[in-house]
Amino acid sequence: MRLLRRRLKFDTSSERFEAGFGADFEASLQRSVPVVNTSLPEKEEPQKGDELALLRAGDPAASSNFVRDHISWMLAVARRILRDAGHAEDAVQNAFASIFAGLKNFEGRAALKTWMHRIVVNEALAIFRKNRPQKDESIDELLPVFDDNGCRIEAPWASFETPESLLQKSQTTDRVAELIEKLPDSYRVVLVLRDIEEMATSEVAEALGLSETNVKVRLHRARAALKKLLEPLIRGQEL
């Protein structure tokens, strides 16, 4: 009991709180936080006016160049949302149909690519909604574990590979993509839209017909589950 009291006093003192590991830990938080809120990295200048004019007029060469310039990244976006390659191709075809139809009204105020990104995301989500499983698959076995006192059960982290060091290994990208696939669809899609496609919570809620609270709960669970799945990599036990 004496030991217990000493620990409590030690651990809760504000001195330890201020001086203990404050600086280091703060710095590590500061470094990693911007991941959440960075804006779309791929924003571009709007295409030049004459190219747009040719496209609107249906010029075959301009259309072909336009499709070939954009189809690869659009397919990548659709594939992140839809696991099925055929569905992803359907989404891209539908997206181009919407884009060609919408070009005459496109005012060039938003970057062209940003506008196209929204369209391909929306087309992919339309297909996702149609094929969404009726019942949510369980994510429980990937969520953090607590004991009866509400204390976290987490194996000590003896070694910790930083994202930077993991990114130097050529297999990392494929392995991460594989592990994301293991998330149940209804959670994976929220994580992809928020953390990879960088949509706002309100946009994701609207697109999926969920409340914002529900989007946040799913996002947190999806991140927690993915952390569990990526753990062998981050602990340096794999690759």
């Binding site: 217990l4 620990r7 409590l8 651990d11 809760t12 709180f17 830990f25 938080l29 990693s32 936080v33 991941v35 959440v36 990295p41 249906g58 075959p60 259309s63 072909s64 499709v67 070939r68 189809i71 690869s72 990244w73 397919l75 990548a76 992140r80 191709e89 181009f96 149909a97 953090p144 607590f146 009866d148 006192n149 509400g150 204390c151 976290r152 059960i153 987490e154 982290w157 910790f160 994202p163 993991l166 990114l167 990392t172 990208t173 991460v176 993509a177 994301i180 994580l191 992809v192 953390d195 990879i196 946040k216 947190h220 991140r223 927690a224 993915l226 952390k227 753990e231 990599l233 981050i234």
Partner: protein
């Protein structure tokens, strides 16, 4: 550390987390998203940080949680995943045919 020592340590935490301005790891878990979105009040933020300062488990958990987010974002938007090796000619042809028709 042996299993029984771990249990004792958690029991101590269990008592400690009931003190004023203290939260359990389970309650901490529910704060994480709002913390990362910068949506906590200054009082909540102080309580969150207080827990972090006394809880090795949550400190390491949060660090791994953030590393996992960073790794996911970096790999999924990197050039090699964002762009398949070559332009899918079949699909280009289908899109252009639909455009004409």
């Amino acid at each position: 550390m042996t299993a029984s020592k771990k249990t004792i340590k958690r029991r101590i935490h269990g008592v400690m987390f009931k003190l004023p301005l203290m939260i359990t790891c389970n309650e901490f878990e529910d704060f994480i998203l709002a913390y990362l979105e910068d949506e906590l009040s200054s009082r909540e933020r102080a309580i969150f940080k207080m827990h972090l300062s006394v809880c090795r488990e949550c400190r390491e958990y949060l660090k791994a949680y953030e590393a996992s987010m960073e790794l996911t974002k970096a790999t999924m938007t990197s050039e090699e995943t964002a762009l398949p090796e070559s332009v899918p000619e079949d699909l280009v042809a289908a899109v252009l045919a639909a455009r004409k028709g």
